[in-house]
């Protein structure tokens, strides 16, 4: 029984185990697609993309630079969105500053979408290494 479990664990750890983590960070849900968790990946992708898109639609601020500790933390949260952040920067999406009340919500939506994306990417990594059984 123990030998079977060891063999199964070794089987799951072959190859580059950080690929789901990196891919999951770059594209929401892609880490789960890589480990063949199609349904979970789709739900994660829809949730994170919707949250990010709603943040942009609410004129949320996409951080480009940081002047104090709170700005640095929010910039780090934005960067957790992976390609979404870089595409938004390239297309000039999001506001430069918060002008209306809903923009404040939008800014939080964008930051939290990034944080949720990292949680999802780490989950994909745990599935890949076998730390999370299924």
């Amino acid at each position: 029984m123990a030998a079977t479990q060891n063999t199964a664990l070794k089987g799951t750890q072959q190859g580059f185990v950080y690929l789901p983590l990196i891919l999951g960070w770059l594209v929401p849900g892609a880490g789960h697609f890589l480990v063949r968790k199609w349904g979970r990946g789709a739900l994660l992708a829809v949730s994170i993309l919707s949250m990010y898109a709603l943040g942009l639609a609410m004129q949320g601020k996409v951080y480009t630079s940081a002047h104090d500790i709170l700005d640095i933390l929010q910039l780090a949260g934005d960067l957790c969105s992976g390609l979404l952040y870089f595409v938004s920067r390239m297309l000039g999406l999001g506001a430069d500053s918060v002008q209306v009340t809903t923009a404040d919500y939008g800014t939080r939506f964008i930051v939290v979408a990034g944080l949720l994306n990292v949680i999802a990417a780490v989950d994909a990594h745990n599935l890949r290494t076998g730390r999370k059984p299924s």
Binding site: L43, S47, M51, V100, Y105, A120, D123, S134
Partner: protein, 59 residues
């Protein structure tokens, strides 16, 4: 531009965060759904309770 009410923003935030929490924090689909629903209820419930608390504090 999308301008939701405060409550709509809370519900949308709770919905998306709960889906991610449910999927990532539990192992089986049944437990994922239960935990996601639990997180959603806590998010929205605590927002309603805190809103009423602030309403009475402000008066």
């Amino acid at each position: 531009m999308f301008s939701p009410s405060h409550f709509t923003a809370v519900v949308l935030f709770a919905l998306f965060a709960s889906v991610v929490f449910g999927i990532t924090m539990r192992d089986t689909p049944a437990r994922m759904v239960r935990y996601g629903a639990y997180c959603f209820a806590l998010f929205v419930g605590s927002a309603i309770v805190l809103s009423w608390a602030m309403y009475f504090i402000a008066r």
